[in-house]
């Protein structure tokens, strides 16, 4: 097994091109589990941890460019104001030892349906910047995942960064049965309100083969808020609206039965969380109005 340790982004892309069979390692918190369990026997390891460019945060056009090597620790510390949903998700990841090493690029790279970055990135309409020696492209997060633990990344490509629009409204992230609540995640849900453009974003984790958006729920709520002028008048939301939104979110999930919960229960729980998330975000948006 060889060990490749580029110190610049250019070297990294070149190494990726030359060793397409190499396993990319960022923080290693996912990869090392696979290697330790003997499920992965790579012929080469491509260590990105020396590539300083990947740890950078940038701002452009109302977007935050989060380098793929940015850790959860850094997201929590540096981005709670601009990307509150992502920061909230980062806070729920693992524990300090994992948050100190684990990266947003690694989370995307693993493409697990349970990855905690994914719901807020979906809800925010983030885009993934992907590069190879030859090209660079961006793809919406919603198109990034193609199956359980599978993404659109080609064998010569690396994730450079994630572009996330800075928040213009309230955002939440919740795990049902997260820590402090004494059981592991049964499903997770992110909601982002984008009042500037009249949009609503959602993201669902652990409830399907890939992280999902509840598009019907988004459209329903956008339609309701737009038609009633609610973005401007900021009235209370009626129970019927909240319940319908929750129903549509639950309906978007494609959960399975597993050791953490049955599909039915997960769908139910997701509906509850969706309802609470909407009420919390909307109250926040109304800013304490009666």
């Amino acid at each position: 097994m060889s060990y490749l340790r580029p110190t610049s982004w250019a070297e990294a892309l070149a190494a990726r091109a030359e060793y397409p069979e190499a396993v990319v390692v960022a923080g290693g918190t996912d990869v090392m589990v696979e290697i330790n369990f003997g499920r992965l026997h790579p012929s080469a390891l491509l260590d990105l941890s020396r590539v300083g460019e990947l740890r950078a945060l940038g701002r452009e056009d109302g977007h935050v460019r989060v380098g793929s090597g940015v850790t959860y620790q850094s997201i929590m510390r540096d981005l709670p104001g601009e990307l509150p949903g992502l920061a909230a998700a980062a806070r729920t990841v693992g524990s300090p030892p994992i948050r100190n090493r684990g990266t947003i690029g690694g989370n995307l790279g693993s493409a697990s349906p349970a990855g905690d970055c994914h719901p807020p990135l979906l809800a925010c309409g983030a885009e993934v910047e992907i590069a190879s020696v030859h090209t660079s492209r961006t793809t919406p997060v919603a198109d990034f995942f193609v199956g359980p633990k599978r993404s659109v990344l080609g064998p010569d490509e690396l994730i450079a960064a994630v572009w996330v629009p800075a928040a213009t409204g309230p955002q939440t992230f919740s795990k049902v049965g997260s820590r402090n609540a004494m059981v592991i995640a049964i499903c997770s849900f992110a909601l982002a309100l984008h009042p500037d453009v009249g949009r609503v974003g959602t993201g669902i984790g652990s409830a399907g083969p890939v992280p999902l958006r509840a598009r019907a729920a988004e459209q329903f709520l956008e339609g309701h808020l737009g038609e009633t002028g609610a973005w401007e008048s900021r009235p209370r939301l009626g129970d019927a609206v909240v319940d319908e939104f929750a129903r549509l979110v639950a309906g978007a999930a494609q959960p399975i039965d597993d050791v953490r919960g049955s599909a039915d229960y997960r769908r139910h729980a997701l509906g509850v969380v969706a309802r609470r998330s909407l009420m919390w975000c909307w109250d926040e948006f109304r800013g304490g109005r009666p």
Binding site: N100, S136, A181, I184, A269
Partner: protein, 1007 residues
């Protein structure tokens, strides 16, 4: 996002950094690491973890808990930040500064202030992850000198501790922060509180106000007037093994590596039930680096029972080292010793096994139905109760005849019957099972092993290996937790076989997945209680019947399930009691000993049942218990009809043991006050107005346990004086983190009139220390403590004789020992050191020493009340326990800090049992959650506040009045939570764990 620049547009010529990671040959790399300020060149493979490299470099404080970063035992600092070295490539650490706890160990015998705080606060039990915790504290306090409790808990949340419930760890971090800020902390002395049940504290005791100011990490102590003053006993002494633990010194099994050591791996069954038709090991044996491949075709078939129990081990002896049948997924098939773990793993893959798959059964009730697959159809196992029906044991015991029992039921005002189910859970000590074996210079087999029962292991392994006991030595170093999983010979025989086959040292350490499926679990049970009560709610008849799931083998099946009956039917007085139990073989992982030993299952059923009866009768849950509970002087009438000495048909009344000390009422009253029981009648509290989806509730449950197994458990101790008046104390007892070495030293120090630091405890090594059955059945303080007291008294007898002579006193019995001196009545004294020098060197020389053993005819029960406050989210079913209280009568707590530490740890383990832990299998018997995460154990940041009350009683038969404490606090959290959910929602749930889904389903209106 057009127009945005992508990094790396211009492709630089690739240059691999060769300075840190040179590629040498095929596999090995040499890397330069900076560890604790020193540079090291290390050879490793590209995929080697930092954990492996650090241990190779002698940083023993960095420990294996799993290969997944989930336990935190391997947490270290990289550039000052906490990271998990088990999921970090060693090569990625090049160029960074690595810090382990060894960096703090600058002066011999001295502590860093953080370490000092950990020692003082009693933050370590086994101390297996102490290094990681100290480092987490260091990282936190460097960034944040005055952290909040939530910040502390978050900082610790990556390090799992199965022992302390984090209570005293959090306290240690607070103390360390204060110390580093230059502030002083209150000593860890318990807070004395007023008794509520009649007796008053002795006038000498000052009652401290419990004002919320005093940390919950300090136990509340109710003092009994019957307890005499003592100098060392009853004091919050720091642990005698604190130094080795907090410094991460090499103390555990894996902290040595004999030269030429081979690494073992076990091939495990992929099938729940199958016959091994053929094994072809030729490819495995031919693999370079493989030294031995053992399986049923090349090892002797010797039957045994793996439970670590006194001779003769209860039947059936239904196991062999390598059987030609597998009975659960994870059962042993073959074992390999090779020059590396990777080679051993590869060899396991190369063993070709032909299986004939058989139908399997997993549920205990299904297993004993006609037509179920027969799991033990072999002809050479004796002592199975009914192998054709998969019943390993049938246990019966009753205080009256069947007719009298039915007559009692017929005379009852009301009869209640309910069935409960409890699940399999795993102990999950953070240190897995590990054994290192070798042949010593006399070619005797030495097994250095993480066991609770070194003497039983030596005796039990001998016939399997064809060796006499005298050819075997078992060394028990420090243990990283056990909880009963190591009261069992799980791997020692494999290592013994491999050492004999290879004549090399051999190491076998189980993976976390193997811990889950191939060690032991708690018995799942289906428990039915039928109770008859009179109009006032007094029990007139109690009938308890159990179908218990022993998994693939019957080890501990008889005793665990007997204990279910013994304790389940001893808490309340009742004129007619009957216990019936079928223990079922199934194709699940093997059930064995687990802290509580059958009692948690019984109490979940009993204490839930009692609440339901109370509800039906309109009684407060406290009231119904008070009307029925046992008191001092009441008979323990079922105990001798079950268990090791069971089957006693006609017990003479004078043979029935009676309760000689009982603080149950005091426990219940303290617990009730501490939890705020009066809120049960406040509807507004139950439904907080600001959170309409929340319901609150309170629940209580009581328990009784034993203190050792009467007339079976034996412990011994020997004590000798040294030139300076210190003492070596050798005990066979096995401190697995419980603090028993400390408690035993306190007992010896009390007798000998010296401070605890003058007692050098060594436990345990079958070549050096006298016999002890081991650490189980809550026996160590009570039984081993009894032996220590006697041995110390024997040494004391010689000391006072010599002191009398030195002081010219005629009557040696007037000599008193205290403050390291022997005192005459007239106030003259001679030092312990002078007595020792005189005895060893100058006059009528002798080694002052004492050796004694102890067996007790009694097993005085400790008592406990456990209470829970919960919030139920009625929309999701999520149960959040917001407070737990335990008040326990363990006689006189010899050390209130270690005692309360036991209580706290047990409460949290029990909370996992109640809320989230369960070994889940798929329909083929394969594990679905054989790692942390999916199998959730509580972390520092999701642990509720806990309060511990120690209610003193003076137990006449115990050393300095002590009874047991380690098991009872695991008994009652599940029923207390269940009863609190009932109080909160009106819904009674009769199966655990209370996962959100189970609770949510129970809350749905019946359709």
């Amino acid at each position: 996002m057009s127009g945005l620049r992508a990094d790396g547009e211009e492709t630089a010529k690739m240059t691999l950094d060769e300075s840190g990671a040179k590629r040498r040959g095929e596999l090995m790399t040499e890397i330069d690491l900076s560890v604790n300020g020193r540079r090291h060149s290390v050879e490793c493979e590209a995929h080697t973890t930092l954990l492996t490299v650090l241990r190779r470099l002698g940083c023993f404080s960095v420990r294996f808990g799993s290969a997944t970063g989930e336990t935190g035992a391997a947490a270290v600092l990289v550039d000052g930040r906490l990271v998990a070295a088990d999921v970090l490539l060693a090569a990625q650490a090049v160029g960074h500064e690595i810090t382990t706890v060894e960096a703090l160990n600058v002066a011999t015998g001295e502590y860093h202030p953080i370490q000092e705080a950990f020692v003082e606060a009693g933050a370590m039990q086994s101390g297996y992850s102490a290094g990681a915790m100290v480092l987490a504290t260091k990282a936190l306090l460097e960034a944040n000198p005055d952290p909040t409790e939530a910040e502390i808990r978050d900082a610790l949340s990556g390090i799992l501790d199965r022992e302390t419930a984090y209570v005293k760890v959090v306290e240690a971090v607070k103390r360390a922060a204060a110390a580093l800020r230059g502030e002083k902390c209150r000593p860890m002395d318990p807070v004395v509180v007023d008794a509520l049940a009649g007796y008053k504290a002795s006038p000498a005791a000052t009652v401290t106000e419990v004002d919320g100011e005093v940390s919950m990490a300090v136990p509340r102590l109710v003092i009994s007037p019957d307890v005499p003053q003592t100098a060392v006993v009853g004091k919050p002494e720091t642990k005698v093994d604190a130094l080795r633990l907090v410094k991460g010194n090499p103390a555990f099994t894996d902290d040595i590596e004999p030269r030429g050591m081979l690494f073992a791996k076990v091939l495990r069954s992929p099938h729940a039930h199958a016959r091994i038709v053929a094994i072809d090991d030729s490819a495995a044996a031919a693999l370079p680096g493989v030294h031995a491949v053992l399986h049923c075709r090349n090892t002797a078939r010797v039957k045994y029972a793996s439970g670590g129990q006194s001779w003769p081990n209860p039947p059936p002896w239904d196991q062999v080292s390598f059987d030609d049948k597998v009975r659960h997924v994870g059962d042993r098939v073959a074992a390999v010793a090779a020059e590396s773990t990777e080679i051993a793993e590869e060899a396991c893959r190369l063993i070709k096994v032909t299986y004939e798959e058989l139908p399997a059964v997993f549920d205990e009730v299904e297993a004993i139905k006609p037509g179920a697959p027969v799991i033990h159809d072999e002809t050479d196992t004796e002592g199975i109760f009914d192998s054709g029906r998969n019943i390993s044991h049938h246990i019966e015991g009753q205080t009256v005849s069947d007719e009298a029992l039915e007559a009692a039921f017929a005379g009852a005002d009301r009869v209640f019957e309910e069935t409960f189910h409890v699940q399999q859970v795993q102990h999950t000590p953070i240190e897995p099972h590990i054994t290192i074996g070798w042949l010593d210079e006399d070619e005797r087999l030495v097994l250095r092993t993480s066991t609770q029962v070194p003497f039983h292991v030596r005796r039990m392994v001998a016939p399997l290996l064809g060796l006499p006991v005298k050819r075997i030595r078992v060394i028990k170093p420090r243990l990283g937790g056990g909880f009963g999983a190591k009261q069992e010979m799980v791997i020692e025989d494999i290592v013994g076989h491999l050492v004999l086959a290879t004549r090399h040292p051999v190491r076998l350490e189980l993976t976390r997945a193997e811990e889950f499926i191939s060690t032991r679990v708690r018995h799942a049970m289906t428990v039915t209680f039928r109770s008859g009560v009179d109009a006032e709610g007094r029990l007139v008849a109690q009938d308890m019947s159990v179908v218990s799931n022993t998994g693939a083998y019957g080890t501990h099946g008889f005793t665990v399930n007997s204990v279910s009956g013994q304790h389940g039917l001893s808490l309340y007085n009742c004129p007619a009691k009957r216990f019936r139990c079928d223990v079922a073989y199934t194709n699940r992982p093997v059930a064995g000993a687990f802290r509580g030993y059958g009692a948690p299952q019984a109490f979940f059923a009993l204490e839930s049942h009692m609440d339901d009866i109370a509800r039906a009768l309109g009684l407060d849950p406290y009231e119904i218990r008070e009307r029925n509970w046992v008191r001092t002087g009441d008979p323990l009438d079922i105990v001798l009809r079950l268990g090791e000495r069971g089957g006693v048909e006609d017990l003479a009344p004078e043979d029935i043991p009676v309760i000689t000390s009982c603080g149950l009422e005091e426990c219940a009253l303290q617990g009730r006050r501490a939890i705020g029981w009066e809120r049960r009648s406040d509807p507004a509290w139950h439904r907080p107005a600001d959170r309409p989806h929340i319901r609150r509730g309170l629940g209580m449950a009581l328990a009784i346990q034993g203190s050792g197994i009467p007339l079976v458990d034996m412990a011994a101790c020997s004590i000798k004086i040294n030139d300076d008046g210190s003492f070596n104390m050798l005990v066979g007892a096995t401190d697995l983190g419980t603090g028993s070495d400390t408690v035993l030293a306190q007992i010896a120090a009390e007798v000998l009139g010296v401070p605890i630091e003058d007692i050098l405890v060594y436990s345990s090594d079958t070549d050096f220390t006298p016999f002890d059955v081991g650490a189980y059945a809550s026996s160590t303080t009570y039984i081993s403590g009894g032996a220590v007291k006697k041995a110390a008294e024997a040494a004391r007898a010689r000391i006072v004789v010599r002191a009398a002579r030195l002081l010219g006193v005629d009557d040696a019995s007037t000599i008193e020992l205290h403050d390291r001196r022997a005192w005459a009545l007239d106030g003259r004294s001679v030092s312990m050191g002078d007595i020792a020098l005189n005895a060893l060197h100058t006059e009528d020389q002798e080694q002052i020493m004492g050796t004694a053993s102890h067996v007790s005819p009694e097993s005085p029960p400790p008592f406990a009340a456990q209470l829970a406050e919960v919030e139920v989210d009625i929309e999701t079913g999520q149960v959040t326990v917001t407070k737990l209280v335990t008040a326990v009568d363990c006689g006189v707590p010899i050390n209130p800090i270690t005692a309360s530490g036991q209580v706290e740890g047990a409460m949290l383990q029990a909370l996992g049992y109640a809320l989230c832990e369960e070994v889940v299998l798929d329909e083929a018997g394969r594990p679905l959650n054989d790692r942390f995460g999916p199998y959730w154990i509580f972390r520092a940041d999701d642990t509720p506040p806990m309060e511990v009350y120690l209610v003193q009683t003076m137990e006449p038969s115990g050393p300095y009045g002590a009874k047991a404490v380690a098991e009872i606090p695991i008994d009652d959290v599940a029923p207390a939570v269940r009863n609190a959910i009932l109080d909160a929602t009106g819904v009674a749930i009769n199966a655990i764990p209370f996962t959100p889904e189970r609770v949510w389903r129970a809350l749905q209106p019946a359709t």
